[in-house]
């Protein structure tokens, strides 16, 4: 007998034996990169004698395309609110069993219900709430109160302002600055908002979604229209010089949620994981890792001062009252993209 003819059955046998051992259940998460404290994941693995595998996506749309096309097997997905509505409409989600989520029932901070899109929480449990506002350099804007969208227009900051390259966010900011709703579908209001953004455009350096953090951190930009989750992190590194302002006219709130897709293989374990994250100590630990607030009452009260006093993580109640949630406008999205095209095309 040739040695090779022994070799192949040996490999097969090992493979089969390895498959037969006591197999630990595996929980598959599909989420954003570095969006959960790895220490908590290890703790959950130990407590539940299971394995947790994390895969990451870079936008709601790519995640949706993949899951919709039939790539199943994820147990918990972390989409943003508007994507949750779409997934629920397409019958892709498993209704949550509230009896398996006692921590969510016990610790959910009801105050945040007004900033989440699906407050009845049939399919979703909020994971992190973030806001869109204005990041600014405290050291280089001295003497100017940064408290309004009108600041974007201030000639003192000409060429050193960045606006988000996102049609809903930026047109939404303009709508808010005029006192309208972020979800307005009135052509007249949108036309006025278009004029506002065009005015802003003359004053800004660029439209940008990623690099503005760098610009704020290095002082290249003085004002940056941006997401609180991004800025909170930068603020913790340089608390003396960087601030985050919530415009008084109102601003956007967004929420990433946890959902269990219909194709989940370990729905029980998935419920256990969501419940585990809502345990106050864990919630507090995770808020500190991701720099965005989970609506968990006891978890929030356990936060260290530097996190609790950072408005980009935990805005005060009166500020939060001015937040508005972006809704999925369906066919009316076209109204916004038309305005956005005009804005982009106008010199």
């Amino acid at each position: 007998m040739k040695p090779t003819s022994l070799f192949i059955p040996a490999i097969l046998a090992t493979a089969i034996l390895a498959g037969c051992g006591p197999k630990k259940p595996t929980l598959h998460l599909y989420t954003w990169s570095d969006y959960i404290d790895p220490g908590l994941v290890t703790l959950f693995e130990k407590e539940n004698n299971c394995r947790v595998k994390i895969d990451t996506f870079d936008s709601n749309e790519t995640m949706y395309a993949k899951v919709k096309a039939g790539s199943g097997g994820y147990d918990i997905i972390f989409p943003s609110s508007y994507q949750v509505s779409l997934m629920a409409q397409n019958n892709m989600l498993l209704p949550l069993d509230k009896s398996k989520l006692p921590n969510v029932t016990a610790h959910f901070e009801d105050f945040y219900k007004r900033v989440i899109l699906n407050p009845e929480m049939t399919f979703n449990v909020p994971y992190a709430v973030t806001f869109t506002g204005i990041a600014y350099r405290k050291d280089k804007t001295a003497g100017v109160a940064i408290d309004s969208w009108a600041c974007l227009d201030n000639p003192a900051f000409k060429g050193r302002v960045s606006l988000l390259n996102d049609f809903r966010e930026t047109i939404g900011a303009a709508l808010k600055s005029l006192g309208y709703s972020l979800n307005s579908t009135s052509p007249d209001e949108l036309r006025k908002a278009c004029d506002v953004v065009l005015r802003w455009k003359k004053n800004i350096a660029k439209f940008d979604n990623e690099q503005y953090k760098t610009g704020i951190a290095s002082g290249e930009f003085l004002l940056g229209h941006g997401y609180s989750g991004d800025i909170a992190q930068v603020m913790l590194e340089d608390p003396a010089n960087i601030g985050f302002a919530f415009p008084k006219e109102g601003f956007t709130a967004a929420c990433d949620e946890m959902v269990i897709p219909k194709t989940a293989k370990e729905p029980t374990l998935a419920h256990a994981f969501i419940n585990f994250l809502y345990e106050p100590d864990n919630a507090s630990r995770n808020i500190q890792y991701i720099c965005a607030v989970m609506p968990n009452k006891e978890g929030i009260s356990k936060l260290p001062d530097e996190y609790r006093n950072n408005p980009a993580i935990l805005p005060p109640a009166d500020v939060l009252a001015k937040a508005e949630v972006l809704k999925d406008l369906g066919a009316n999205n076209a109204l916004y993209s038309k305005v956005w095209d005009t804005i982009k095309a106008t010199e």
Binding site: S33, I54, D58, A69, G72, G73, A217, C291
Partner: protein, 264 residues
Amino acid sequence: MKRNPFPLVMLVLVLTFLYLPIAVLATNSFNLSRFGGTWEGFTFKWYGQLINDSQVWSAFGNSLCIAAGATLASCLFGTTAALALHKWNSRLQNVHYGLIYTPLVIPEILMGISLLLTFTAIGMDCGLHTILLAHTTFCVSYVTMTVLARLQDFDDSLIEAARDLGANAWISFLRVQFPLLLPGIISGGLLAFTLSIDDFVITFFVAGPGSSTLPLKVYSMIKHSPKLPVINCLSTVMLLLTFMLVLASRAFQNIKQPKTLRGA
């Protein structure tokens, strides 16, 4: 005599555009600042985070397994396909050539989504095995083309000579044709390995739970990670490894050089 400055200028320009970005990246991997806009001091902090990032390493392991598997499989299928294409010149082989050639020209996104739809249709769960299948599918074309190019320079009378001297078809292939084709197969294999290890689009579609490869991981990190410099570290490490591999293979080639049959 005045020398023409043009070649020197070109050389400097090309070297700058090729290597300056790499130098910036490598420098930033030691930058204390998280954003790389300004130099804030020297640190090994990001390398420490890279070593402890189990997700990056498991993605790296997945990438290596898939690339190795896809290379082996595509070398096998690619070489046999090239042999068949070389040996026969029928209408069927023209169709065969077309089929092999198509993956080189169709858009990756089309291939990705169609593979995913196929896997879903036959009820196959996505995972490492689907990525391996997908990568083998597109790598076969590249290996076939490389080996075929090598076969076009191949002197068929060598095989006839071997047969004349009493070797059967199998032995003449194994002892004569295969060793002469080996450089082509190896370079095709290296090409396949490189393509497989950095493929993003196709992998994105056919990856399933727990089978993220390095490009998938890096891409999601670029967009949403507070640990951006870790990517710089990872790239620097991979660059060093690549340079070492290239140097090693050059050294290897130099040793082998005198033994080849020049006069044959």
